[in-house]
């Protein structure tokens, strides 16, 4: 009896020990995919990039404050340039690396692996990915300065070095050129998943060249020769109308709505954190700008901006218009107006891009007014004012273009901030003495604990991890 039980016991032990191995693999998730189409990652990355740049959350995107388009009603940390209490740099850093570049890299890997795609289509897909990658890298470079690049996006290397910003910038310009040569406009690329152009590769050629124009102009003060080459090469193939704009058409329902509508009064928020800043509203009032009604609400029949960087009572000032607050307001990554301003600037810099600075300037302003819903007549009347007309407007070409571009880039805080730093116009003063309008974003605070040595090296390389350290191209 005893022996029988003992042997039963032993055999059940044996049974037990083989049991786990006889189960199906519990490490395989039953609810998550292990293989997906490359296009879905591309689409997600484009959405992630647009969200990051469009958002008006104080936790991640405060550029509308830095350029004094908006100001806050009550909480002054951000309009007074505090970047640490809300880990703002970290939010931007994460969006770009983890939510955008990582997915683009993975979509590229999957696209390359896909042997079913014909060569020309695959090349177009790779070009679409590459252009978006260059765009995303440029945002990182123009926000922080030196950032991890050559060792980035490798989870096996937790401590990637920070690369020199100018070297990296040149590298992505090279990649952009390569991407443009890959495109075959008659073949398809990503189509349904291309939320920007629905697979229209001719538009991608224009987008790529417009991006090239924009990125080249950024370095015009630091590396004029290269800027000239690139600008002149790109100019013939850039946007020719608002129909070419790189538009992201948001949907009405969360989470695919325009993120601005998560932060301002409307169906998705009851908060009243923002009013228009007097800095912008006063200028537009002086110019009787026809876009005011598209940009702002009225208070007592007039447009009135809150004092920048001070407490403002919400009902007393203009806030964002219903158009800007709408959940389905489109996001813009690049537009015709911007391109035209760049061409005007190119001529002032002596680059051969055709036309005159004034023509491009006029066309830029007109494109902006009509994009926002204004009429050609309004544009013409606006341009007829001596304070607007290129010949008579105040200041040098930088100030003329800078001021009008600053208005045209309303609701595109990041781009307005890049252009303001580059053109040094208009003059924006900090709300109180002792503060400095940020010239760059400081590195995320958690980089000190996650990648400390490399962050410290980069900080000293760029001249200090401070928001008043000018970036390498911001030389004037």
């Amino acid at each position: 009896m005893k022996k029988i039980i003992l042997s039963l016991f032993c055999s059940s032990l044996m049974l037990a020990t083989s049991c786990v191995d006889s189960l199906d693999d519990y490490n395989l998730s039953q609810k998550e995919a292990a293989a997906v189409p490359s296009e879905t990652l591309f689409t997600n990355a484009v959405k992630g990039l647009t969200d990051a740049l469009t958002s008006a959350s104080v936790n991640s995107n405060n550029y509308r404050f830095y350029v004094q388009h908006w100001t806050a009603t009550t909480y002054l940390d951000e309009p007074r340039y505090n970047m640490t209490s809300r880990t703002i740099p970290q939010a931007m850093w994460q969006s770009l690396y983890r939510d955008v570049l990582s997915d683009l890299k993975e979509s590229k890997r999957l696209a390359m692996e896909n042997t079913a795609t014909i060569e020309s289509v695959k090349n177009n897909q790779l070009a679409q990915i590459e252009i978006m990658e260059v765009y995303a890298w440029s945002v990182l470079l123009n926000t922080f300065g030196d950032v991890p690049y050559s060792e980035a996006l490798d989870p096996e290397n937790s401590l990637p070095v920070y690369d020199d910003a100018q070297t990296t910038y040149n590298a992505i310009l090279g990649r952009l050129n390569n991407a443009l040569t890959l495109i075959n406009p008659t073949a398809e690329g990503y189509e349904d998943g291309d939320l920007l152009y629905e697979g229209d590769m001719e538009k991608w050629v224009k987008f790529g060249n417009s991006l090239k124009l924009k990125l080249a102009m950024v370095i015009a003060d630091a590396d004029a020769a290269q800027a000239r080459t690139l600008v002149e090469a790109a100019a013939p193939n850039v946007f020719t109308s608002n129909a070419d704009n790189t538009v992201f058409r948001y949907l009405g329902a969360q989470p695919n709505n325009n993120p601005v509508s998560n932060s301002v009064t409307g169906p998705y928020s009851t908060r009243e954190d923002y009013v228009a800043a007097n800095t912008l509203v006063d200028v537009m009032n002086d110019l009787k700008d026809p876009r005011r009604g598209q940009f702002f609400t009225q208070v007592g029949g007039e447009y009135k901006g809150g004092i920048y960087g001070f407490t403002n009572s919400y009902p007393d000032f203009s806030t964002v218009s219903a158009k800007v607050a709408a959940p389905d307001n489109p996001g813009l990554l690049l537009d015709y107006s911007e391109v035209k301003f760049l061409l005007a600037e190119a001529l002032e810099r002596g680059f051969a891009v055709g036309g005159t600075a004034q023509e491009h300037y006029n066309e830029a302003i007109k494109a902006s007014i009509t994009y926002w819903g204004g009429t050609d007549a309004e544009a013409t009347a606006y341009l007829a004012q001596p304070s607007v007309a290129y010949a008579t407007a105040a200041g040098d070409w930088k100030e003329k273009i800078g001021t009008q571009k600053w208005i045209a880039l309303y609701n595109r805080g990041y781009d307005a901030w890049v252009e303001w730093r580059r053109l040094d116009a208009p003059t924006l003063l900090p709300p109180v003495e002792g503060l400095v309008v940020p010239l760059r974003m400081i590195y995320p605070v958690n980089e000190a604990t996650l990648n400390g040595a490399n962050k410290a090296a980069a900080s000293s390389a760029i001249g200090g991890d401070s928001s008043d350290t000018a970036l390498w191209w911001d030389v004037e």
């Binding site: 189960l23 990652l41 997600n44 505090n82 928020s269 919400y314 996650l450």
Partner: protein, 1067 residues
């Protein structure tokens, strides 16, 4: 063995009795615990050999010799009692359990009872009545202070979760909570909720009245047989069982009230009202002529000074249903501040237990009803608990037993925790206007059930940030149910007199349903969400038990076992999208936009273990214990998923060594070494893609933020422990002293990595955390007379924790892993060379060791946000338990002490910035209001030095609006105040429990009375915080449960004093 001794003694005494002469004394000996008579208790005339044993009814009769003056009553496991005879002829005696005596038998891993002398590790027992006596609905919380080295943290929320950590935090990112095992059934204590509302954890679903005893197995050596999960220690709970040939009905009825301990709640300055700047909104005519309008939209109290002669429009002037509609009122501080929001809570607990048995069977059946009304408006928990267990000796060799327990918990209006609109303390402690009267908010809500907030938007049509606090409790409440089932079936078969076999199947299953809502009209997008979760764990055990005396001197105990564990968790979390169409209708279909795909989760885990244990004894003096276990887990990479770990211990009983030392009654020393392996979290091996909601009809996929690892290996804890136990003067005094060290290595860590890698977390196998410390538990009986006894139990534990390493080598060595980053710019971290959980943030700038101010008189802030500014680990913890017994009356109180343990307060950080607290107002040391401009003699003089090292004499502006508060979050515009200003010392001394019990004399009940015993109790819990260093808050309060929940307060709930009574009837 004991029994034989006892029998011998009884016979001996009986024979002695025959010679006895003189007076006769008789009486009954009963047990204090259940009032049952004690058969076989010894009654001895002190200083003689005259004595008797009690019969089956606990009765005795004895002739007292002439020289006899005192009777000595004793029984195994009970404290010996001496009673002077002094002419009495009837002496009834109630015997209490004695800790020192009881510890002779300990329930060890796998529920095996062992003579404590055999154990080579520390195990501390708590009797059931020790946890049930204060009538708390969560017995886990009542363990605080009762066991050396047990760190129990529970928030002051209704039915909230409890964190139980033994011997410090050892796992950097894994679970650090002790495992709960009820009669062999493992029960998880994890908090399962995706939301900011604390729905509590399942360990609270045990009826404290049903607990016979709790045994805390602290070190790895004690728990190795439970395998992986027991690395953090085990709380073994033995429930009450019926006794053979008896019948007992016990009815328990108790009511506990609770009310706020005001020393743990915010106090408000009464000089200034609403606003970030010292002005009203422009004067308007809202119905009673032009008058200033309060800044409704400003959730701060840095506004204009109160002036009873100034008439202004308050928030109720725009509420058409208000009697003050369109009217002005004087500008004064509120009569009812937020402390009046807290209501008196009520906890009613009714239970009935029927237990007993026949010749071959025993059973225990109980039902408990628990109704809790919380301290916030509209908060309740109802619990029904049914428990049943039975055992049947089918044959002399075969015993069949089973248990089934069911608890249903229904909650309404559970408390939100942390920085969240569902937590009213976010308003009360951080964003508040001191002019707002809570009672007026209350009547505004009940007048028309609308959201008449004090925090109107610009158009005065609804809230901007803060809802009416009554609206949010009555409209935006959560509700939940939890069904919790656990039980077992077990067969024991005695193969021979030295070997038995046990087979057992256990099941523990919970079903949770949690619904949350935000009503139409609230701040934010209205929603309804529901979360359903099913969890099931089953265990199958087969175990051979050996007990054999190899020779006269050598004994052997052993076991050989196998365990199969299977866990399955599935959950679904769905929410409406973009708002609710029909107000007050809460269903997923009532969504404005089509709902997004719900979040589904499904995890499984299977672990197979085989284990063996052997205990060799030599002359009942020296014991050697060896155990080993091999586990195979599905959460590790297939093919490399098994791991082995051993334990060994040595124990030496010192009784013989002290044979000649009369005052040392017993002693032992012990030492052990043990390893425990641990597997990985589910689904951390293979990479997957994350699926965001599609963009319309366009599908999206994304790489997840965590990089998995297909090379994971088990983590391992290695520990040493040594202990000494001594007992003096026959248990008048004794102690158990333990030193230990444990190192957890190869930790499975989802570490934060720079997002530049494309991920923000990555699973690695690295890192080492060390815990070492001492534990002392002691007992002393300072006074013992015939009728009066004073017993003390003392617990002390000191743990030192250090993160030895993280991961990476050389230049790529990582020295810090953030566990959580919190609002206010502070983080909780595992940092090499520091204790686990250190708090980092911006520190002061120090000049010659003193805080430095800048040229405007504000504290300068060190630009390094990663300075270590606090350590949440306590220096030591202790408990002093006193029991005074006088006849049937007993008074017990427990003082619970924690020394050290830092807490960072977001409540003060924001509250000082918004001008709520008294420190933000009042007079400066020039005698002027500090909120006046410095130019007018105002401002605040902050203690410290200037940059040149001289004493600070610069007054800092104490105003807001321009971001210039001297304290708190808005100060200095740019970087704020040094975060270290808001680090508080979390030390406390608390009168944790106070219990006055009275057992009605048994003589009241006749021989045939149905009622055998009545106990009355007055109980109090958390009645008095004797000492603390943290103003306006309870230093114990944290963020629910989890590794980073301590050391940070945001929207802290005040402590509640509990007091009430309880009646217990035995039939």
């Amino acid at each position: 063995m004991k029994k034989i001794l006892l029998l011998g003694l009884t016979l001996f005494l009986a024979s002695a009795m025959a010679f006895a002469q003189g007076r006769n004394v008789s009486g009954t000996v009963t047990s204090a615990e259940d009032g049952e008579p004690i058969p076989g208790a010894t009654v001895l005339v002190k200083g003689t050999t005259v004595g008797a044993a009690t019969d089956v009814n606990g009765k005795y009769s004895l002739s007292i010799p002439d020289n006899g003056t005192v009777l000595v009553f004793s029984f195994i496991g009970m404290a010996t009692k001496e009673v002077p005879i002094s002419g009495q002829t009837v002496i009834d005696v109630v015997l209490d359990y004695d800790a020192a005596e009881l510890s002779e038998v300990a329930v060890t891993a796998m529920g095996i009872e062992r003579n404590k002398n055999e154990l080579a590790y520390s195990a501390q027992e708590v009797q059931g009545d020790q946890v049930s006596r204060v009538r708390s609905s969560d017995f886990v919380a009542t363990l605080s202070g009762k066991v050396a080295g047990l760190d129990v943290r529970s928030d002051n929320t209704m039915g909230g979760s409890t964190n139980v950590v033994i011997r410090g935090y050892s796992s950097i990112s894994g679970n650090n909570q002790a495992l709960f095992v009820i009669d062999g059934v493992p029960v998880s204590n994890a908090n399962n909720s995706p939301s900011a509302v604390d729905f509590g954890n399942a360990a609270a679903d045990i009826n404290p009245d049903n607990i016979e005893s709790i045994n805390v197995l602290k070190g790895a050596a004690a728990t190795a047989l439970y395998g992986s999960r027991a690395a953090n220690g085990v709380i073994m709970i033995t429930t009450k069982k019926g006794k053979k040939n008896s019948m007992n009905i016990a009815i328990n009825s108790g009511v506990i009230w609770s009310s706020m301990d005001k020393s743990t709640f915010a106090e408000y300055q009464k000089e200034y009202g609403a606003g970030y700047i010292q002005s009203f909104r422009a004067s308007q005519d809202m119905g009673s002529g032009e008058a200033p309008v309060v800044r409704f939209q400003d959730d701060a109290s840095y506004g204009p000074a109160f002036n009873p002669n100034l008439q202004v429009y308050h928030w109720d002037a725009v509420d058409p249903t208000s009697p003050n509609y369109g009217k002005t009122k004087p500008w004064v501080a509120a009569q009812n501040d937020p402390s009046s929001y807290y209501e008196t809570g009520l906890n009613s607990n009714q239970s009935i237990t029927i237990s007993g048995g026949g010749d071959e069977t025993t059973f225990n059946l109980g039902y408990t009803r628990n109704d809790i009304k919380g301290n916030l408006p509209n908060s309740t928990i109802d619990k029904d608990m049914i428990n049943f267990n039975a055992a049947y000796n089918a044959t002399e060799k075969l015993t069949v037993s089973a248990s089934a327990n069911y608890t249903r918990t229904k909650g309404v209006g559970r408390y939100g925790v942390g920085y969240n609109g569902t937590n009213p303390n976010q308003q009360f402690r951080q964003w508040w206007q001191t002019n707002v009267d809570v009672e007026e908010q209350k009547s505004a809500y009940f007048r028309n059930r609308q959201n008449d907030t004090w925090n109107w938007n610009g158009a005065n049509t609804g809230p901007i940030y803060s809802d009416n606090i009554y609206w949010s409790r009555y409209e935006n409440y959560s509700n939940d149910t939890r069904d919790n089932i656990y039980g077992y079936v077990m067969l024991d078969y005695k193969l021979t007199d030295w070997m038995s076999i046990m087979g057992r199947a256990t099941l523990s299953a919970t079903t949770d349903m949690q619904e949350e809502r935000l009503a139409v009209g609230s701040a934010g997008v209205p929603f309804y969400s529901r979360y359903n979760r099913d969890f099931k764990e089953s265990n199958y055990d087969l175990m051979l038990n050996f007990k054999k005396n190899i020779s006269e001197d050598f004994t052997f105990n052993g076991l050989l076992g196998a365990n199969l564990r299977r866990e399955e968790t599935s959950s679904i979390d769905a929410s409406t999208n973009g708002g609710l169409v029909v107000p007050r209708l809460y269903s997923l279909s009532n969504t404005v936009n089509p709902i997004n795909p719900p979040t589904e989760e499904y995890f499984r885990r299977g672990v197979d273990g085989i284990y063996a244990n052997a205990n060799f004894g030599y002359k009942e003096k020296l014991f050697l214990e060896l155990s080993a276990r091999q586990d195979k887990s599905t959460t590790l990479p297939k093919g490399d998923n098994s791991y082995f770990y051993p334990a060994a211990g040595l124990n030496y009983v010192l009784n013989d060594a002290f044979k000649n030392v009369s005052w040392i009654s017993a002693g032992k020393i012990r030492a052990n070494y043990a390893e425990v392996g641990n597997d990985a979290p589910s689904l951390s091996v293979y990479d997957i893609y994350f699926k965001p909601t599609g963009f319309g009809s366009i599908p999206l996929f994304s790489l997840p933020s965590t990089k998995n690892n297909s090379n994971l290996k088990p983590e391992r804890q290695k520990s040493y422990e040594a202990g000494l136990e001594l007992d003096f003067f026959n248990s008048l005094f004794g102690f158990d002293f333990t030193v230990y060290q444990s190192n957890t290595v190869d930790q499975i860590l989802p570490v934060d990595i720079t997002a530049a890698t494309g991920y923000t977390r990555r699973f690695v196998n690295a890192g080492e955390v060390q815990n070492k410390g001492i534990e002392v538990s002691a007992y002393v009986t300072p006074i013992q007379t015939n009728n009066f006894t004073w017993d003390m139990r003392l617990n002390f534990a000191r743990n030192r924790n250090e993160v030895i390493s993280l991961y990476g080598e050389g230049d790529s060595r990582v020295t810090n892993v953030p566990l959580a980053s919190f609002q206010g710019g502070v983080s909780v971290n595992a940092a090499v060379g520091h204790p686990y959980g250190v708090i980092r943030g911006n520190d002061f700038v120090y000049t010659n060791g003193e805080r430095t101010v800048d040229e405007n008189g504000y504290y300068m802030v060190d630009s390094d946000a990663s300075k270590i500014i606090g350590d949440p680990n306590p220096d030591w913890m202790g408990g002093i338990n006193n029991t005074f017994t006088y006849k049937g009356l007993s008074l017990a109180f427990l003082i619970d002490i924690r020394k050290g343990g830092d807490v960072w307060s977001l409540d003060r950080w924001y509250g000082d910035g918004t001008g709520i607290y008294p420190v933000t107002a009042g007079l400066n040391d020039r005698g002027n209001p500090s909120r006046l401009p410095v130019a007018e003699g105002g401002g605040m003089l902050l203690p410290g030095v200037k940059e040149d090292g001289t004493r600070n004499d610069i007054y800092a502006e104490n105003q807001n609006g321009d971001g210039q508060t001297a304290l708190g979050y808005a100060a200095n515009n740019y970087v704020g105040t040094p975060r270290s200003l808001y680090i508080y010392d979390g030390s406390y001394v608390k009168l944790r429990e106070l219990v006055l019990s009275y057992s009605l004399p048994t003589s009241l009940f006749g021989q045939n009375s149905a009622v055998k015993r009545i106990d009355l109790q007055l109980v109090g819990r958390n009645l008095w915080i004797i000492h603390k260093n943290m103003e306006y808050s309870d230093p114990e309060e944290g963020l629910g449960n989890g590794n980073s929940a301590r050391g940070y307060q945001s929207g802290a709930y005040p402590a509640m004093r509990n007091y009430g009574f309880n009646v217990k009837l035995n039939f």
